[in-house]
């Protein structure tokens, strides 16, 4: 029997993996990958709560769909920013990007 707690613990572990990537990676793209993992963990939570605590409404799944859409927006804008930073500073390593103005 898979309970709500199973899903919540799994998503907590996935979230922690993403957090570790955000804290320790130098590459801007890898930091974005960590953020994607964290958003996925949140989505698993939303869908699991939908099934186990409010099955009659599909509100959790709708929330998850909106989070997926906004994650796509975030990825597009974030990767565009990485490209722009690479054009002007010729690095995407965030600890080397230390200029406020070029």
């Amino acid at each position: 029997m898979v309970t709500l707690t199973h899903y919540l613990v799994l998503s907590a572990l996935l979230f922690v993996l993403g957090l570790f990537a955000v804290v320790t990676r130098r590459n801007g793209v890898a930091i974005l990958m960590g953020i994607e993992l964290m958003l996925n963990a949140a989505n698993v939570n939303l869908v699991a709560f939908n099934k186990f605590t409010a099955p009659a409404a599909v509100q959790g799944q709708i929330f998850a769909l909106i989070v997926i859409t906004l994650a796509a927006c975030e990825a597009a804008v974030g990767l565009a920013l990485v490209l722009a930073a690479y054009r002007s500073l010729e690095t995407i390593y965030v600890d080397e990007i230390n200029l406020m103005k070029w």
């Binding site: 707690t5 979230f15 130098r26 793209v29 939908n50 099934k51 409010a54 799944q61 769909l65 565009a80």
Partner: protein
């Protein structure tokens, strides 16, 4: 153990194993490709949770679009090889400590809270219910999301294009 339990643990191992590769691989291209099994594992979890529509959208957007976008940007910035000596900064120990503390905190909260159990059952056909809800009670959210999507894509184009 029932089939659902077996499926859950297999999917959990796939997701977390791929996630560990994403987080720790010294080659950024390997990290990006390892995102695909991680997202597909989450897709399997959605199917286990009777959220078929969310699962399909997850495959289309995450495993399809976002991974390809990330690979494109890696190829455009790193020259394709992705190999550079230091992919991680010197905060590895601190980061692991923070992540471990966060994991312990979340585990304690999740296991000690008495989550309520809901009444009722999921609709037999969830895509239909989602569509009804998006064009009914959630119409404003739907429209707002579409505007955010449009604005962010225009913004991404403007930020990423070459200045002339």
């Amino acid at each position: 153990m029932s089939g659902e339990t077996v499926a859950f643990y297999v999917l959990a191992v796939i997701t977390l194993g791929a996630g560990v590769i994403v987080v720790t691989s010294p080659n950024i291209v390997h990290s990006a490709v390892a995102l695909i099994p991680a997202f597909l594992g989450v897709t399997g979890l959605y199917i286990l949770l009777n959220a078929e529509f969310v699962a399909v959208i997850q495959v289309l957007i995450y495993a399809g679009a976002i991974t390809v976008l990330i690979l494109f940007v890696i190829m455009l910035t790193e020259g394709g090889t992705g190999l550079r000596v230091h992919q991680r900064n010197e905060q590895g120990v601190v980061g692991a400590a923070v992540a471990g503390a966060m994991a312990a905190l979340l585990y304690a909260v999740v296991t000690r809270t008495a989550w309520g159990t809901g009444t009722g059952t999921l609709p037999a056909y969830t895509p239909g219910a989602i569509g009804q809800s998006f064009l009914g009670p959630n119409l404003l959210v739907f429209e707002g999301t579409s505007i955010v999507l449009l604005v962010s894509l225009i913004g991404a184009i403007i930020i990423a294009r070459k200045e002339d």
